[in-house]
């Protein structure tokens, strides 16, 4: 279970998070939506302890991640998988080595077992024939799929996706959302998807939270929110230029 309690964060005096509170139950998948540059990725990085809040707490299974150091932090991070917005692939390694990396470093599997696991993941992602390419040789979509394969290969119990479909064509985007849904059904991870893929993403998540001006202004199941008549949420979903929020 992930609990964010009253998180505040500023960068160079500019407030990004202003009292964000959110709870994601075990095995639940939540979509975090909101305008670009509003602090969604920052919030995601707070969950895994990459960014420390100015105040507030981040509880992972009732443990405050920001109070952990050394081995305790390593242990809790072993539960996480993280898909970075840009992929964050190791550019000196091939696709195969990128996906095999966490298995080699964190498990005692033999190279044959690692090979089997990696090729299974790559096959799921449609990258089996590109296993020996370097990230620089891949398209944006292939890079994202490689990163997703690397994030999922350890079967994490908490999975964080930072814009998994941004920059991809609609078919690949839908394939990735389907894959996330399949994995979620299979391993029942607790997850957060930062995305602009609305309303498509509503089909695969149990909860949706919208962040606006550093606060969560709407949170609930996709059906509840769509019925709720929240003008900011409705404007975001429909993509209207006119509405309570002036985008430009």
């Amino acid at each position: 279970m992930i609990q964010l309690v009253n998180l505040y964060k500023s960068f160079n005096g500019n407030p990004v998070l202003r009292g964000v509170s959110l709870a994601i139950q075990k095995g639940e998948l939540l979509a975090l939506i909101g305008r670009s540059g509003i602090g969604k990725s920052v919030l995601l990085k707070h969950i895994v302890g990459l960014i420390q809040p100015d105040s507030g707490t981040v509880l992972i299974n009732n443990i405050d991640i920001n109070r952990l150091r050394g081995k305790q932090l390593i242990e809790i991070r072993k539960q996480f998988g993280f898909l970075f917005q840009g992929g964050a692939l190791f550019d000196s390694m091939t696709v195969y080595d990128n996906v095999a990396f966490p298995l080699r470093e964190r498990t005692k599997l033999s190279e044959t077992q690692i090979r089997e696991r990696v090729f299974n993941e790559l096959e799921e992602m449609g990258l089996k024939n590109d296993w020996n390419k370097f990230p620089a040789e891949l398209s944006g979509g292939m890079r994202k799929r490689t990163a997703l394969a690397r994030a999922m290969v350890m079967d994490p119990s908490i999975m964080l996706f930072d814009e998994p479909t941004t920059g991809l064509d609609p078919i690949i985007g839908q394939t990735i959302l389907d894959y996330i849904q399949q994995c979620h059904q299979k391993i029942k991870f607790t997850g957060v998807i930062v995305t602009h893929e609305v309303p498509k993403v509503f089909n695969i998540v149990q909860q949706v939270a919208m962040i606006h001006q550093g606060e969560i202004i709407a949170c609930g199941s996709p059906d509840e929110l769509q019925k709720q008549n929240n003008p900011i949420f409705d404007q975001f979903i429909t993509g209207d230029i006119t509405g309570p929020v002036q985008y430009i």
Partner: protein, 255 residues
């Protein structure tokens, strides 16, 4: 009043920076001894920092020795001391020029690349990816470079010395007609193991400085291409200046 505040803020910022430099070094040393070494990474980095620097060290070493041979012969001939050319070249190289110039060469060739490589890993979130995978970035990025630099730089310094002495021999003996026996004989009398160890210790500390500063600058790179270029430039400049300052202190202590 405002001016005083600005000066105070500047001084505090610099003190904080010094603290983070120190903390970075202590953390790197801690992880070097606390966790098992990533041997393949160390070997890769020895190849990158050491093996790939050999050509540039051989070239600079040989030509530095040749210049020392020419200038030394000119100066010594003023008072009929040409026979002392061997010890002059060898002592200058082994105690001073070898460790310093080889370290500066490594800084320019490998240190800048280290800073930019780690900097690019920082801005493309590869270091964050390591952390999220519950892996320690120091063990993967900093410690192998530190061990590799500490092992490679003294060896490169020694290679520089050998090439320099050979360069001095070419000029002094083959070009200017000094006897080969005199060149090496006098060298054997005046150059002792203390001088060799003096140069070795210097090179060891320079290796540590190169890895420390270049990894630090890469690790704390600010965002964007400009951030990486700034980090790389600062790494080379700070490293070079620090090597020369540290050289003076270590020389004066063991003088």
């Amino acid at each position: 009043m405002n001016g005083i505040r600005k000066v105070g803020a500047f001084v505090l910022k610099r003190l904080c920076d010094l603290g983070t430099y120190g903390l970075f070094l202590v953390t790197a040393i801690f992880w070097t001894f606390w966790s098992p070494l990533k041997f393949t990474r160390v070997i890769d980095q020895i190849n990158f920092i050491g093996v790939k620097s050999t050509l540039i060290v051989i070239l600079t070493g040989a030509f530095t020795g040749m210049v020392l041979g020419l200038q030394g012969f000119y100066a010594l001939s003023k008072f009929g001391g040409e026979s002392m050319l061997g010890p002059t070249v060898a002592l200058s190289l082994v105690r001073e020029i070898g460790p310093v110039i080889s370290a500066l060469m490594v800084t320019g060739r490998a240190g800048s690349a280290l800073a930019s490589e780690i900097g690019i890993m920082r801005i493309s979130e590869q270091i964050d990816a390591l952390e999220v995978m519950a892996l320690n970035p120091f063990r993967y990025l900093v410690v192998p470079n530190m061990v590799a630099a500490i092992l490679s730089v003294p060896l490169l310094g020694a290679l520089f010395d050998v090439c320099g002495i050979w360069g001095g021999y070419l000029v002094g003996v083959k070009l200017l007609g000094l006897s080969g026996g005199t060149y090496f004989g006098e060298m054997a009398i005046y150059l002792n193991s203390k001088d060799v160890f003096h140069g070795l210790y210097k090179s060891l500390s320079f290796g540590l400085i190169i890895a420390w500063i270049c990894c630090y600058k890469g690790y704390y790179t600010e965002y964007g291409a400009k951030g990486v270029s700034k980090a790389t430039t600062q790494a080379v400049v700070i490293c070079s200046v620090l090597i020369l300052i540290w050289d003076y202190f270590i020389t004066s202590v063991s003088f």
